[in-house]
Symmetry: C2
Subunit: 248 residues, 2 copies
């Protein structure tokens, strides 16, 4: 038996998320990936994914692993080329690595980096439209930076958790929170040991409300303490969110 | 009579260039723009464009001007919003400015900035696929930088001119030539007082051949002196090219 790890990038626009949907026939990234892998390896392959991404969310560094019995691709580069030759053009395998048998893409992940791109001008730029969220009203960047500081560290993030996703604990640690302003773009980078369902998107939606003046930067502290989803801002659209990297 | 200048951004993927084609019915950016302007101003509007862009080429800063007899949009911001409300989503008006009557988008342009994005890795990134050119083979970035230095300055660029485009002189001045390497991307920025037909794409194609080791960096000097299109490299694909800015 062999265990192979893949790093994937995809544009989520045309997919109903990453994970295969048991209840529907909607196209997912995993559906395409498992189909191509099964065909290349001549056996049924079921990838184990690190991080579910919702419908419309993109990735530059999603990770999966899969167990296979044949080792026909001893050269990892050849596996990458073969996969990309058969996958849809908006799904690409960036890297492939042979792992020890116990490696598990989800259980062994130590942290993740997400980014969110806000296009903040009267008119959005067409070239980045598919992976940014256009906010027409000028946002107060400095206030958003101040607000972001309150989110760094270990907190109970119940106020920033979508209604789905059941988890044992709602405590997570954000290790890094960077906001950069470049031309008309505000780029948000959030790194942490794990994220609750919709957590990054709710955090971004809340920061946008801070930038609009609807929430004061200091109120973030109270919102965290309230442990109440109703106190936070709206869930920002999926299209601006990118799963950038998974740390092992 | 009034004269208005517009700054436009568009994704060229779905358009047969900017300029209205007299001989065909293919969709162009200018076709959509003139149609929406004519409808908004209730008169036939024909925009004067600064720079033709070929089929598939993008823009972040194309400039046009147009003469109109009514001044119903005294507030420029309202004109921008009205235009964007009616234009296709891959064409956006970024700015509008009221100009003196003689202003001419093409004749008064003093210089232009183009960028070209090369995605140089075994697998391309899906999110930037529509505006980058994927080169699978690892390019020698340092050699490309050395080669680029020979192109700066005033030269007869006949070797880098496509067969179409008739011009009085083939002498042009490149005022700035920057190459940057960021992750798997090579970004090329070329600024000059004007460019011959396909000049930037032929320069990029030649630099790619330098990066592949097919042309030595020092040979650029000979290629310029030869004044022979056959000596330069191939024309790089349109999809990686962006008209970034026009200087007045």
């Amino acid at each position: 038996m062999f265990n192979t790890k893949l790093v994937l990038a995809y544009q989520g626009t045309n997919y109903c998320g990453f994970q295969i949907q048991t209840k529907s026939q909607d196209p997912t990234v995993q559906y395409h990936l498992d189909k191509v892998l099964s065909s290349l390896f001549n056996e049924e392959i079921k990838t184990i994914l690190c991080s579910r991404t919702d419908s419309g969310v993109h990735a530059n560094g999603q990770v999966v692993n899969f167990i296979h019995s044949s080792n026909k691709f001893t050269e990892q580069r050849r596996l990458v080329l073969a996969l990309n030759a058969h996958l849809p053009y908006d799904i690409r395998v960036l890297e492939s690595e042979s792992m020890y048998l116990d490696f598990h893409a989800r259980y062994h992940a130590k942290g993740k980096l997400y980014s969110y791109l806000i296009d903040n001008a009267i008119a959005n730029r067409p070239l980045t439209n598919s992976f940014s969220y256009h906010v027409h009203k000028k946002l107060d960047f400095e206030k958003m930076v101040i607000a972001s500081k309150y989110l760094i560290g270990t907190h109970d993030f119940s106020s920033f958790k979508g209604s789905q996703g059941a988890t044992k604990t709602t405590v997570r640690t954000i290790t890094r929170f960077d906001l950069t302003l470049d031309d008309q773009y505000i780029k948000i980078q959030v790194e942490g040991n794990g994220f609750l369902y919709n957590m990054v998107r709710i955090i971004v939606g809340t920061l946008i409300h801070v930038g609009m003046g609807k929430i004061s930067p200091e109120a973030i502290k109270d919102i965290i303490e309230a442990k109440d989803r109703m106190k936070a801002g709206p869930t920002a659209p999926a299209k601006g969110l990118i799963l950038e990297k998974i740390y092992y």
